[in-house]
């Protein structure tokens, strides 16, 4: 493929894509920038990522690097935004801060170009301004970039609202309900979280998701419960757990090995939440679904038993 024919921007379908995907895609679309999305996750992609990333990285980072690899040489530049913070006490996992530079280093010898959008409100780049600047770097005017950003953030908002709505519908359904809590890039990933959700589906259980909730509402709930938790994404998950737990017969905490924020917030949840059974699943690059199915099964047995005992 010649330089001209290649899509302009490659987007890894991993990590923050599951959170901000609609926003990024709409942004590029409005500006008329061609994009290439990496294929859905697979064992092969994860294995490649595990080979490339440092051993002790979290599963999500390994998956991300696997996706980056599929894009090498197939687009002009690979887009890895850097989400650092939305303000002094509104932070992200430190890993999001480093992924752009980490990818540049891991793939240095490939000669692949990388591009980032630096969201760092503490240093003068809140999201809107960061995307404006990013658009300008791509060669558009500030005005065009601002317009694209406005439309893009609306697209994200709409998706959030839709998720929130469908969640409420689910919550009204009869039958056993399980609340799945974890990063959306774990739960929604076809190779990582999807098999777990499918498993619950097959067992005839209604699965609610802690990450499908209006972010502001969720974060407020978390602030009361755990005032020094400042990772925005974790706050949303914790808040989601708090707000949905009354509706759920059981909670499954799904996390990536060895996730920094989860190692702490999940511990706090386990210690502070009473009256609902909790199952913790930690996914890693080696073990896959082995053993997880049986653990889910016996967890559901416990729930059924408790429900039965109550009737």
């Amino acid at each position: 493929m010649s330089e001209q024919k290649m899509p302009m921007i490659g987007i890894p379908r991993a990590m923050l894509y599951y959170r901000y995907g609609p926003l990024w895609e709409r942004f590029f679309q409005v500006l008329g920038v061609s994009t290439l999305l990496s294929p859905p996750s697979s064992r092969g992609i994860l294995e490649a990522g595990a080979r490339l990333a440092p051993d002790e990285s979290c599963l999500s980072l390994k998956m991300l690097m696997g996706h980056v690899e599929t894009l090498i040489g197939r687009c002009n530049c690979i887009f890895i935004p850097r989400y650092s913070n939305y303000g002094y006490t509104e932070l992200f996992c430190t890993r999001y801060e480093g992924i752009y530079d980490q990818a540049r280093n891991i793939f240095r010898s490939s000669g692949q170009r990388f591009i980032t959008c630096n969201i760092d409100a503490q240093n003068g780049f809140p999201e809107a301004k960061a995307f404006e600047q990013f658009g300008v770097e791509l060669g558009f005017t500030a005005k065009e970039s601002r317009r694209a950003w406005r439309e893009a953030s609306r697209a994200l908002e709409q998706r959030k609202k839709a998720e929130d709505r469908s969640q409420k519908e689910l919550a009204g359904k009869p039958g056993i309900k399980v609340l799945a809590a974890g990063h959306s890039y774990i739960l929604s990933d076809p190779y990582l979280g999807k098999p777990i959700l499918d498993n619950l589906d097959a067992a005839g259980v209604v699965t609610l998701r802690a990450d499908a909730l209006e972010p502001e509402t969720a974060r407020k709930a978390c602030a009361r419960f755990s005032p020094t938790c400042r990772w925005i994404v974790s706050e949303e998950i914790v808040g989601g757990v708090l707000l949905w737990k009354e509706k759920a017969d059981g909670i499954i905490l799904v996390s990536a090995f060895p996730c920094g924020p989860d190692s702490m917030t999940n511990e706090l949840l386990i210690r502070r939440i009473r009256g609902v059974p909790i199952l913790t699943l930690v996914l890693d690059a080696q073990s896959g679904m082995a053993g997880i199915e049986t653990r889910i099964e016996s967890f559901l047995d416990i729930i059924r038993f408790q429900k039965g005992a109550m009737v």
Binding site: R82, S84, T94, Y100, Q102, N105, T228, P261, M264, E267
Partner: protein, 355 residues
């Protein structure tokens, strides 16, 4: 509010001398020093912590338990980058679940970016004391930290070449002077005594000794117990050990405002917590033709793991060997010694080849 508190902070290298100074001199409050870190501290911490949290969380939790056992009734926990912001809240919960009764002052709660919250934090420690006095003690403790860091750097750069064993004695006397200091003159005198005593020892140092630079996460690299005294071990092999990573360089002097610009080829933006400082220091050691680099990091430390690909490239570009060490509660003295000896042999061999 209690009339008479017994305050403790978990152990952190020898920095507790400065923390003790602030509590005692600045707030006129009794300070309980937890026992020195030991295997027991580590076990207590590990047993009661979540598995996948980084080692400093476990060690500081263990130290809090030992402080409570030693009679403390108030624990102060600091905040900082990365997960450290969240240490306090979870540690308090764990200690309460263990059944301890105590007051917990979690400075992270006051770390909101607003000045008045800093004042609220100071009042929480002792509401009746003057802020001027507290402020002065902070200033004086900062001088103590500078002296401590300068002395420590000097010590590890030279103690490997002291045939008399005097250096070690002088260093530890200095440390105990700092713990005993009650005023700025005490601090200064302790420091001057150490400097003078060091000068009196004749070193047998070759003109071009093997030099190794150490980098790593804020806790493990600065805490000799946690890193199994890596600096002393290397020095004892006859290495000039350099560590720029300390509180003075990173927080008090901050003499290098443009670190990120200098390393932009490797890292355009901060990769979190210690990353920028570490990469800059690694580059600095490499540019000064050091013989080797060692990265000291706690298991599960995110930023230190994330910079490994950067260090690998830096190592390639500057042709400087890097030894990556990950510490958890399983890491043994013997295992560490073997790896250090192998690294030393390799570094020494490279010298012979390039000469």
């Amino acid at each position: 509010m209690k009339q008479h508190r017994k305050v403790a902070l978990p152990r952190y290298g020898e920095y507790n001398c400065a923390l003790k100074y602030i509590v005692e001199q600045g707030f006129e409050t009794e300070c309980i020093l937890p026992p020195p870190l030991s295997r027991r501290t580590e076990d207590l911490g590990a047993r009661n912590s979540p598995d996948l949290v980084c080692t400093p969380f476990k060690t500081t939790l263990g130290s809090m338990i030992e402080a409570l056992e030693a009679g403390a009734d108030t624990i102060i926990m600091v905040h900082g980058a990365c997960r450290l912001n969240y240490f306090g809240e979870l540690q308090e919960q764990i200690l309460r679940d263990l059944g301890y009764h105590f007051d917990f002052i979690n400075l992270s709660l006051f770390n909101t970016g607003k000045k008045r919250d800093i004042l609220r934090a100071l009042r929480a420690i002792n509401p009746r004391r003057s802020m001027i006095r507290a402020g002065r003690s902070l200033y004086e403790a900062a001088r103590m930290v500078e002296h401590l860091d300068d002395t420590t750097s000097f010590y590890y750069q030279n103690c490997g070449f002291d045939p008399t064993g005097q250096y070690r004695k002088i260093y530890w006397r200095f440390i105990s002077d700092m713990y005993a200091a009650q005023s700025l003159p005490d601090i200064q005198e302790g420091y001057r005594n150490a400097v003078r005593a060091f000068e009196d020892v004749a070193l047998s140092k070759p003109p071009d000794p093997i030099r190794i630079g150490i980098i790593g996460d804020y806790y493990t690299v600065m805490d000799p117990f946690s890193n199994l005294e890596i600096e002393q071990k290397l020095a004892d092999m006859g290495v000039e050990v350099h560590r720029l990573m300390n509180i003075t360089n990173d927080m008090l002097r901050n003499s290098n405002k443009n670190k990120q610009a200098k390393i932009r080829e490797f890292s355009e933006f901060s990769m979190g917590a210690s990353s920028t400082t570490d990469i800059w220091q690694a580059q600095n050691f490499a540019e000064r033709n050091f013989d080797g680099l060692i990265q000291v990091k706690s298991a599960c430390c995110m930023p230190e793991t994330d910079i490994m690909p950067v260090l690998a490239n830096l190592s390639q570009d500057y042709k400087i060997p890097v030894l990556y060490l990950t510490y958890d509660s399983q890491t043994s003295d013997v295992g560490l010694m073997t790896r250090l000896e192998a690294f030393y042999d390799m570094v020494e061999m490279r010298r012979k080849v390039t000469l």
